[in-house]
């Protein structure tokens, strides 16, 4: 992330309260409409689903300076996932409307988000291709 963009994000979120979460705490429950956009300052957050077989399926791990859940904030798609602190976490909590307004008025931040989104979606496509047609080894690796 370019330092200018990182500074802008940091500056925006620094207007909002810092909150601490202990390891294991659920920041967002599945099917819950989040009340905030979380900007991670320390720690890691796992985003996961619980399958029909009762297994936890991790779909994403957020590290600083990530902010989430943007899919819900932008598209208002229902949130299907649990967001759990994988370690002790500190995050700044901004109101979703204000975070969206910040994105819309800062094209460089929006572009950076888009860029990270493409990196993520490429990773997912690659993983999917290996799951559908790869060898047992590549399925394990991806």
């Amino acid at each position: 992330m370019p330092s200018q963009v990182a500074n802008k994000i940091e500056r925006f979120f620094s207007n909002y309260p810092l909150k601490h979460y202990r390891k294991g705490e659920l920041l967002i429950l599945a099917d819950e409409d989040p009340k905030h956009i979380f900007h991670l300052t320390t720690g890691q957050v796992r985003e996961y689903d619980i399958s029909e077989k009762g297994d936890e399926i991790v779909v994403n791990v957020f590290k600083p300076p990530a902010f989430f859940p943007m899919s819900w904030a932008i598209n208002k798609t229902p949130n299907r996932y649990f967001f759990e602190a994988a370690a002790d976490v500190t995050a700044r909590l901004a109101p979703p409307d204000e975070a969206l307004a910040f994105l819309k008025t800062n094209p460089d931040v929006m572009f950076d988000l888009l860029s990270r989104l493409y990196i993520g979606s490429n990773g997912l496509l690659r993983r999917m291709a290996h799951l559908m047609g790869g060898s047992a080894r590549s399925r394990l690796i991806f």
Binding site: G24, E25, D31, E52
Partner: protein
């Protein structure tokens, strides 16, 4: 606040003497029904030989504080198959050597099952 305290695999067995033992990972607890009190989990240090297995699967143990949707207790949830979990409220925490017994009460509240899967 909802916190995942533990998760892992459970196994519920019954011995030849018809005593139910709940294993959370490797830790065994005796599962008793005491008339007038109800279901109780109790610490055990003896080895227990399974006559048969009643259930096995994943479990999740949550601590809940100040959440309007869920009771303020520890919630033990056992996966019972077909996307279903059975929840139990632990009226204290899991039993320990200091507090060797805990009442548990079955509940419909389940944190592990999102509404879209119900």
């Amino acid at each position: 606040m909802i916190k995942v305290l533990r998760d892992g695999r459970y196994k519920l067995i019954e011995t030849r003497q018809q005593i139910k033992i709940l294993y959370l990972d490797e830790t065994p607890y005796v599962w008793l029904f005491i008339p007038g009190i109800g279901h109780v989990l109790e610490v055990t240090h003896k080895p227990h030989k399974a006559d048969h297995v009643l259930a096995t699967g994943n479990y999740r143990l949550y601590a809940v504080k100040q959440e309007r949707r869920f009771s303020q207790h520890k919630h033990l949830e056992l996966f019972i198959g077909e996307g279903q979990w059975q929840g139990y409220l632990l009226l204290t925490a899991l039993p320990t050597n200091k507090q060797p017994r805990t009442r548990l009460v079955a509940t419909d509240e389940t944190i592990s099952v999102p509404n879209h899967q119900r």
